[in-house]
Symmetry: C2
Subunit: 305 residues, 2 copies
């Protein structure tokens, strides 16, 4: 299979055109035409064989889905609308045309659900399958949600249930395993948090609540008190809900006097605590200090997920 | 070294702020504010250990320079102004903090020269060093140069000298080797070709003139006649000038009645032939058919460059 054949295959899977896409796959660059009054969001995420997925347990379609889901989740965390994906893919000797087709089909399924167009990328080969995905999104000018906007007194919330992905990684079956393989980026909820509910800060939970909340608080210059009630995924432990990564739920803050509903777009919202004055990044859980533990690729043995 | 320390190191190297950059490194996404009347260009390129560089021959600074140069060259090929880079980097066990510092220092040197700000990325680890770089640029609305605009009768030109990078890869010394390690993206020339000289088509020579010209002609629906005179890098063979990759010069087309100067921004411009009617993508060189040979990662043994 030559590079031109591969590009042809990818183009055939990507017939979709977006109004702002002047030129997609096939030139030195893609050309995008932004709308007036919008800011552009950019995020990039690796999905690497033997670091983020295993050939033995993740199908090609799982890999394609997950690679894109990670990027969409970052756009959701800023309250934006994802628009374009750029896929850099290095193929290994074992990943044949069938695998490539499966990968793009899995990605395409998630992309279509969110109206995202694959607009470019790079192709090469390597010893292992390597994917880096870039997602561009749009948000009304000045309305993007950052990690740094939480203030003492703000209440803290999460979407959905926590710990499911870590449980799935452990047991490799059932709803938790599906959760791990095919995470659902919370795009609609993120958009509502920015546009309707005016959250003060938001981020996605990719590395575990304890570590990610620590980061949000450090950026916001406050500390956090968790009230001890967490929306735990059925069967997951509190530890998995606190420090398991890859839940891809949203963590957000909002002023105490702002009414936040119990669900947004069918997704449950749980109040888990509040921000307070004090050492930036410190967290107490049910009255006790909570270490900022979670997924850090540089401080742990490699995860084989 | 933890992920947060690495991000701190990277942020410290990137104090530069650009007017359109609302938020750079440190949140789930970067936030960009595009100018009215501009299109946005996006390109992504891998730079992988043992595929695109060797630890033994490429310094950390060479890798950082080259990773960015590949992306800037794509923006140059569209006639745009590069603005932001996003760097996804997977570190190997051998690449320590000193290597990371060298990598970003080399990248920063080239970035500053072109006013480019590193605005985000991803960090993880792997068996080998893996880099994927995304560059965003701007171009006046509708003015981007594509591969598809050449017409029969247009003259064909290249910037600079060809074959230097292939010679450098072979000899590993002198100006040619420097050319291979630290390619110079032709940003100023590309901008002038779009804005002043109204080239009809343009692309950068990353995989060799024969293969890249074949692609340009295929996209433009024409064939090409090369007149046999090529601006060959001193010491390089004709074969290296025709099929050696990574010269990162610009190949462009312009109507025969449009005056193209002999140099742009100090860079020599050479007329190498013209476009004609016929089977799209076919090329004749000095009267003989020229096969579309060049760097294709899927049809050749891996390059150790």
């Amino acid at each position: 299979m030559r590079e031109t054949d591969l590009i042809g295959l990818i183009q055939s899977l990507n017939a979709a055109q977006a109004p702002g896409l002047v030129k997609g796959i096939g030139d030195d660059c893609a050309i995008l035409r932004p709308k007036a009054g919008e800011d552009i969001l950019v995020t990039t995420d690796f999905l690497l064989e033997d670091v983020h997925f295993l050939r033995a347990t993740h199908s090609a379609a799982d890999c394609g889905w997950k690679a894109l889901a990670r990027g969409l989740s970052d756009i959701a965390a800023m309250g934006g609308t994802p628009q374009y994906a750029f896929v850099s893919l290095a193929l290994a000797p074992w990943s044949d045309a069938r695998w490539v087709r499966g990968f793009y089909t899995g990605m395409q399924r998630l992309a279509q659900r969110h109206g995202v167009v694959v607009a470019g990328g790079d192709l090469t080969r390597s010893d292992k399958v390597l994917c880096d995905i870039v997602v561009l999104g749009a948000v009304r000018r000045g309305q993007a949600l950052c990690r740094s906007g939480a203030r003492p007194g703000d209440r803290l919330y999460v979407t959905g249930l926590l710990g499911g992905s870590a449980l799935g990684l452990e047991t490799q079956h059932g709803a938790a395993w599906k959760r791990h393989l095919r995470p659902e980026p919370r795009v609609e909820a993120g958009r509502a948090l920015a546009a309707r509910f005016k959250a003060t800060a938001c981020m996605d939970l990719s590395d575990g609540l304890a570590l990610d909340l620590h980061r949000l608080c450090r950026e916001s210059g406050c500390r956090a008190e968790l009230n001890g009630t967490l929306p735990v995924f059925p069967g997951s432990s509190i530890q998995q809900a606190l420090a398991g990564g890859e839940d891809y739920e949203l963590l957000f803050a909002a002023p105490a006097d702002r009414p936040i509903p119990h669900s947004i777009a069918g997704l449950p919202i749980t109040e888990i605590g509040h921000c307070s004055k004090g050492s930036p990044g410190r967290i107490r859980f049910d009255g006790n200090p909570l270490p900022a533990a979670g997924w850090d690729p540089f401080s742990k043995p490699q995860r084989s997920s």
